[in-house]
C-alpha cells in the first residue's frame, strides 16, 4: 500500500479509479463471453479494490453508519460485509453504465405516473434541468434518450471523468452516449450553451451531490444524514439563471432491472432576482431531502467513496 493512498484527495482523483484498460477488458468479457464469466471476474475486481482502497472503504463505512438506521431502523450489523456489498453495487453500476452506452438491451422500467410526467415534460417543448445524483445509474437514464427521437439529453460532466469515459467508449463500443458537456467550471459560455439546449426543448442533466472541481467553486453546508456536508451551489445557480422547469431524475437497480423515477422539483421561469438567494437555499435543502429518501430506500446505491462530511478525515 503506497503512502499516497492515504493522502487527502479530491473525489475526482480517487473516484472512477478503474483503469481504462481494465474496463475495456471487462467490457470485452461482458460482450463476448456473456454475463456469467463477467460476474465471476467482477467479484475479483471488486475484492481487489476493496483491499487496495482503504480511503474508499472508510468513506463507505461512515456513510453506511449514517444511513443504515434510517433504512433498517437499527445500526448496521456486519459492517465489513455491507461495505463489500456497497463496493459490489458500485462495480455493477460501472458495468451497467458501459452496457447502457454500448447499446446493450436494458430492462428499464418507469411506473405509469413517472412515465406520464416525463411524456408531459417532453411534449411541453419547454425542456428543463434534471437534477441527478451519484445514487444509482444515471447513465441508464441518458441511454433512454436514444429510445425516443424527441427526448434530447445533454449531460454535464467533469472533464476529468468525461475524458476517461470517452476514451473507453470510443474504443470499446460502436455508439456514442448522450451529448456530454465537459466542464471544470461553469462559464458564461457553458450557461449559454445549456440555455440554447433548453430553449430547443432539450433536457440538461446535472449532478448536485459533488463538491465542485475548481477550488473557486462555491459550496454551501447542508444537513445531510444528520450532519452538515458541503453541497455545490453551481447546479442551483444554473437552475435559477436558466429560468426553466426543474426536475429530479433517479435510476436504481432493482434486481435485474432498472427503475427510473422522474419528478417535478420546481419551476424557475418566474423566479425574481431578489428571491433567488432564498430559493437557492431552500432548493438545496429540498435536494438533500430528496437524496436522503433515495439513499434510505436503496442505501447501497449511493456511490460516493470519498470523505463527504466535514468531520470525515480527508
Amino acid at each position: 500500500m503506497s503512502a499516497t493512498d492515504e493522502a487527502p484527495r479530491h473525489w475526482a482523483r480517487i473516484q472512477e479509479s478503474g483503469s481504462v484498460a481494465g474496463m475495456r477488458i471487462m467490457v470485452w468479457i461482458r460482450r463476448r463471453l456473456g454475463p456469467l464469466p463477467f460476474r465471476f471476474m467482477l467479484v475479483w475486481v471488486i475484492l481487489y479494490y476493496y483491499l487496495r482502497r482503504p480511503l474508499a472503504r472508510r468513506a463507505s463505512q461512515r456513510y453506511l453508519r449514517r444511513i443504515w438506521p434510517l433504512h433498517a431502523g437499527h445500526p448496521p450489523r456486519g459492517l465489513k460485509r455491507l461495505v463489500l456489498r456497497h463496493f459490489w453495487a458500485f462495480g455493477q453500476s460501472l458495468m451497467d453504465k458501459v452496457a447502457a452506452w454500448s447499446g446493450m438491451p436494458l430492462d428499464v422500467r418507469l411506473e405509469a405516473d413517472h412515465r406520464a410526467r416525463l411524456d408531459t415534460a417532453i411534449r411541453s417543448g419547454r425542456g428543463g434541468l434534471m437534477l441527478v445524483s451519484h445514487h444509482g445509474n444515471l447513465e441508464i437514464c441518458s441511454a433512454m434518450s436514444e429510445t425516443r427521437d424527441d427526448f434530447h439529453v445533454t449531460q454535464l460532466m467533469h472533464t476529468r471523468n468525461a475524458e476517461k469515459f470517452n476514451t473507453l467508449l470510443d474504443r470499446s463500443t460502436q455508439r456514442r452516449g448522450p451529448e456530454i458537456v465537459e466542464v471544470s467550471e461553469i462559464t458564461p459560455a457553458t450557461a449559454m450553451r445549456l440555455a440554447e439546449r433548453i430553449n430547443a426543448g432539450g433536457f440538461v442533466v446535472i449532478a448536485a451531490d459533488r463538491e465542485p472541481l475548481a477550488d473557486t467553486g462555491r459550496t454551501r453546508d447542508i444537513d445531510f444524514l444528520g450532519e452538515p456536508a458541503p453541497f455545490p451551489e453551481g447546479p442551483f445557480w444554473l437552475a435559477a439563471l436558466l429560468r426553466c422547469p426543474i426536475y429530479t431524475l433517479g435510476c436504481v437497480r432493482e434486481g435485474g432491472h432498472h427503475r427510473v423515477t422522474f419528478e417535478a422539483f420546481d419551476d424557475t421561469s418566474t423566479l425574481r432576482r431578489r428571491d433567488r438567494e432564498h430559493w437557492r437555499e431552500t432548493a438545496m435543502q429540498r435536494y438533500a431531502a430528496w437524496l436522503t429518501e433515495q439513499c434510505r430506500h436503496y442505501p447501497l446505491q449511493w456511490f460516493n467513496f470519498f470523505p463527504f462530511w466535514h468531520t470525515d478525515d480527508r
Binding site: 467550471e185 461553469i186 462559464t187 458564461p188 459560455a189 457553458t190 450557461a191 449559454m192 450553451r193 440555455a195 440554447e196 473557486t216 445557480w237 444554473l238 439563471l241 436558466l242 432576482r273 431578489r274
Partner: protein
C-alpha cells in the same frame, strides 16, 4: 465617446443585474466590469452572458480566457456584440 450600442449595453447590464443605484453614466466603458469597477461577480457574468444571448444571439467559445477577454469592460463587450450579433 460613447456609441449607441454602448449606451444600449449599459442599460442591458443595469436591467439584467438590477443595479438600482447605477445610472448609465456611472459605467466607464474602459473600467473593468468584474471584481473591480462595478464589482460584478462570476454569477453576474453567467447572467449577463444569458442576456446577451437572448438579446443579440451571441455565441461564446467554451474557453474561459476568451470569455474573460470579451467581458473585460464595456468596450470589449460592445466589440463582441458588434462582431457576433445575429439579431
Amino acid at each position: 465617446m460613447t456609441t449607441e450600442l454602448e449606451r444600449e449595453l449599459k442599460q442591458l447590464i443595469i436591467d439584467t443585474l438590477e443595479l438600482e443605484d447605477v445610472t448609465p453614466e456611472d459605467i466607464d466603458p474602459d473600467e473593468p466590469l468584474f471584481v473591480e469597477g462595478l464589482g460584478l461577480d462570476s454569477i453576474d457574468a453567467l447572467e449577463l452572458g444569458l442576456a446577451l444571448q437572448k438579446t443579440y444571439g451571441i455565441q461564446l467559445q467554451a474557453d474561459s480566457d476568451d470569455t474573460r477577454r470579451h467581458f473585460a469592460n464595456l468596450r470589449t463587450l460592445a466589440t463582441l456584440v458588434e462582431e457576433r450579433r445575429v439579431k
